[in-house]
């Protein structure tokens, strides 16, 4: 009995000490890597590689966005490297997963900044996670571009100051909301509109707010304003409420996972009014969830359309198809563009110095990319056009292009 006890005790001591030793060993080896990391970075200035980090949602709730951006960026880097790199230097891509969590996004940004010592970063796909990296970007003076973080406060803080080192390739939420409202008033002649927004996402709430403002300015009335929470599956009760308000147009900003079900259930309840959403709808899964028939008479605003007949766009679609054997969605295109946006700035800056690239990014003018030609405004937002698409029997059809 006592023997057994001492044995147990010995085992625990052993375990505990091995844990501590392990932790210390972890620390000491860390010291090793960090000091060598330091020396290699000073050497890295003159090396032949430009490191671009990507802090993306590769797992977790919005993994599909992060992975899409990663695929797009990979294609861009492959093309640039094949064409000789940036000023003769090859790009090294360093993707890191932030698990779709804001705290992990901060951790990942710190890792990219201090361990990998990247020249520039692609910031997370969603606005909240992108914000979680902004202060790190400023602190380490690493130019950071989010491909799809559309909330205004990614680049502009509440007090009106600008996050110097944070940029984006996409337009911002208010713009999409305004485009949707104008489309509803002018093209569909909607008067009584309903809004059904995802309350668990800042993106959808931002869109709903700007849509409401614009539609009221256009003389429309908001007859119902409802919200849902992500991961819901049953929307019928709220949709019944909306239906009884009798709107002739419903704006549903949100992500495809829920929107697919909302569209399906709305049609089941006999709501025939046109529905409209934004880039969060853009996924092939939407069609599977809602069904092609239910999706008729629905519209979205988007960054680009793979159906757009323009030559450069078709070239991109072909190249993407060849590599990943699927048709690129907006996130793929934005990821692709983000890399070219950074490349353009590095070339104009003529160096890999963070501040020089930052300056070049801020001075970008008339840069022509897949998702449009844009200049960067004083709030670090690209001024670019949006595309309105219509779903016809499950296929996105190019409807019109709206300039800011």
């Amino acid at each position: 009995m006592t023997e057994k006890k001492t044995l147990k005790r010995f085992a625990s001591v052993f375990l505990a000490s091995s844990l501590i030793v392990g932790a210390l060993a972890g620390c000491s080896s860390n010291e090793g890597t960090s000091s060598t990391g330091g020396s290699s970075s000073s050497a890295g200035e003159s090396s032949d590689v430009i490191k671009i980090g990507a802090n993306l949602e590769l797992s977790g709730a919005v993994a599909s966005y992060g992975s899409s951006i990663k695929d797009g960026a990979e294609l861009a880097i492959e093309e640039i490297n094949a064409a000789g790199g940036i000023d003769g230097k090859q790009i090294e891509f360093v993707p890191v997963d932030n698990k779709s969590e804001s705290a992990e996004a901060t951790n990942a940004a710190i890792k990219l900044a201090t361990q990998d010592k990247v020249t520039a970063m692609i910031a997370p796909a969603t606005s909240g996670n992108a914000i979680a990296t902004a202060q790190i970007a400023n602190q380490y003076k690493i130019p950071t571009v989010t491909a799809s973080g559309t909330a205004p406060n990614v680049t502009e803080n509440e007090d009106g100051t600008i996050n110097d080192f944070v940029f984006r390739t996409c337009f911002i939420d208010p713009f999409q909301g305004i485009v949707a409202a104008n489309f509803a008033s002018n093209e569909l002649e909607a008067k009584n509109v309903a809004i059904y927004a995802d309350n668990a996402s800042d993106y959808a709430k931002g869109l709903a707010a700007s849509f409401k403002e614009q539609i009221e300015a256009n003389g429309g009335t908001v007859v119902a304003e409802e919200a849902y929470v992500a991961d819901d599956t049953d929307f019928k009760s709220t949709l019944t409420r909306i239906k009884s308000a009798n709107p002739d147009f419903i704006f549903i900003p949100g992500y495809y996972e829920e929107v697919g079900l909302i569209v399906k259930q709305a049609r089941e309840l006999g709501i025939e009014a046109p529905l409209m959403g934004a880039d969060g709808w853009d996924s092939p899964t939407l069609v599977e969830l809602a069904g092609a028939e239910a999706l008729n008479n629905t519209f979205i605003t988007n960054h680009y359309s793979s159906e757009d007949p323009e030559e450069t766009i078709q070239g991109f679609v072909e190249a993407f198809n060849a590599k990943f054997s699927e048709s690129p969605n907006a996130f793929h295109a934005l990821g692709y563009d983000t890399v070219f946006f950074i490349k353009d700035a590095i070339e104009r800056a003529g160096s890999t110095d963070g501040e020089a690239i930052q300056k070049a990014l801020a001075e970008t003018e008339n840069l022509s990319l897949i998702t449009g030609t844009f200049s960067v405004d004083e709030k670090h937002n690209p001024v670019k056009s949006a595309t309105v698409l219509e779903y016809v029997d499950g296929v996105q059809e190019f409807n019109s292009k709206v300039n800011p």
């Binding site: 977790g60 709730a61 919200a227 849902y228 019928k236 009760s237 089941e268 006999g270 899964t285 069904g291």
Partner: protein, 291 residues
């Protein structure tokens, strides 16, 4: 008209909860363990049904039966591997194991197929029946029918068959049941098999009705079903049915009043109120917990 429509909405939502709650209440009734993994068996059922329908292209009813059979096996394996050793362990140990099993199933599924949602193919012709301005989906009628049939079947099994008698005996007092010559292990396994088969059926039906399935889909419905089971009285089969339907209607009413964002909170408030005010639920027997 709006309110009748809302009632219909509530009942179709509630019958899904009821279907999951039936299995929950059986398992809890017999081993007094909140089987957190029940929601995940429900998820596995949905995926099995999905692969059966979309990949092997078989019809709805064969897929339902395959999902039920496989889930029954999975349930028994979970019980034999993880829970059996813990029958005499503390409640906390059993509950933590259940949480562990639940996390394991979810993450193994995510590991193999990723976390992205999958859309169920259309297997049943879905038509909306319009009665005086109230739209009723044909599938929601089917769900309600299936739930009621399964409930009656369960009632029959539990009250009229030999295995049912054994189940009731084990749930009352496992030791005494063993002394009476009942094979307690097999009885518990049978309960798990039936409960998990029901969860599997619920998964397939959920998939057909709501279209979207994903690896974490079982978490919230699982909890809601537990709330429904507690509401109706743990261990009571009609209780689970009534609890599920009531919960569905309550949630729908909360949304219909314009508080859709508080819907989940409402479910948990109900749970807490029931636990504090009448822990035995609507149909439960008032038994003082033995310590």
């Amino acid at each position: 008209m709006e309110w009748i429509q809302q009632l219909v909405n509530g009942i179709s939502l509630g019958s899904i909860y009821a279907l999951i709650a039936l299995g929950y209440t059986m398992v809890y009734g017999i081993i007094k363990l909140i089987n957190f993994a029940h929601g995940d068996v429900f998820m596995l059922g949905a995926f099995i049904g999905f692969y059966a329908i979309a990949r092997w292209e078989i019809g709805f009813f064969p897929a339902l039966i395959i999902a039920m059979a496989l889930c029954a096996i999975i349930g028994v394996v979970i019980e034999r591997v993880a829970y059996k050793r813990l029958r005499n362990a503390t409640r906390i140990a059993a509950l933590i194991t259940a949480i562990g099993v639940s996390l394991l199933i979810e993450n193994v599924v995510i590991y193999f197929r990723g976390a992205s949602p999958e859309a169920y193919p259309e297997v049943l012709p879905e038509t909306s029946i319009n009665i005086l301005g109230v739209n009723i989906s044909s599938i929601s009628i089917l769900i309600l029918a299936v739930t009621i049939v399964l409930m009656i079947l369960l009632q029959f099994i539990v009250h009229k068959t030999k295995i049912g008698k054994a189940m009731r005996a084990v749930s009352l007092d496992p030791d005494a049941a063993r002394l009476m010559g009942i094979n307690v292990d097999n009885t518990i396994s049978a309960t798990f098999a039936i409960g998990s088969a029901l969860a599997g059926a619920a998964g397939v039906i959920f998939g057909v009705y709501y279209t979207r399935i994903e690896p974490l889909m079982g978490v919230l419905p699982g909890l809601k079903a537990f709330i429904a089971a507690v509401f109706g009285g743990i261990g009571s089969i009609p209780g689970a049915m009534v609890g599920g339907l009531s919960l569905g209607v309550v949630e729908t009413v909360v949304s219909a009043l314009g508080f859709s964002l508080w819907r989940d909170a409402a479910a948990f408030v109900i749970l807490i109120l029931i636990l504090i005010l009448k822990p035995s639920g609507i149909f439960g027997k008032n038994t003082r917990e033995k310590v």
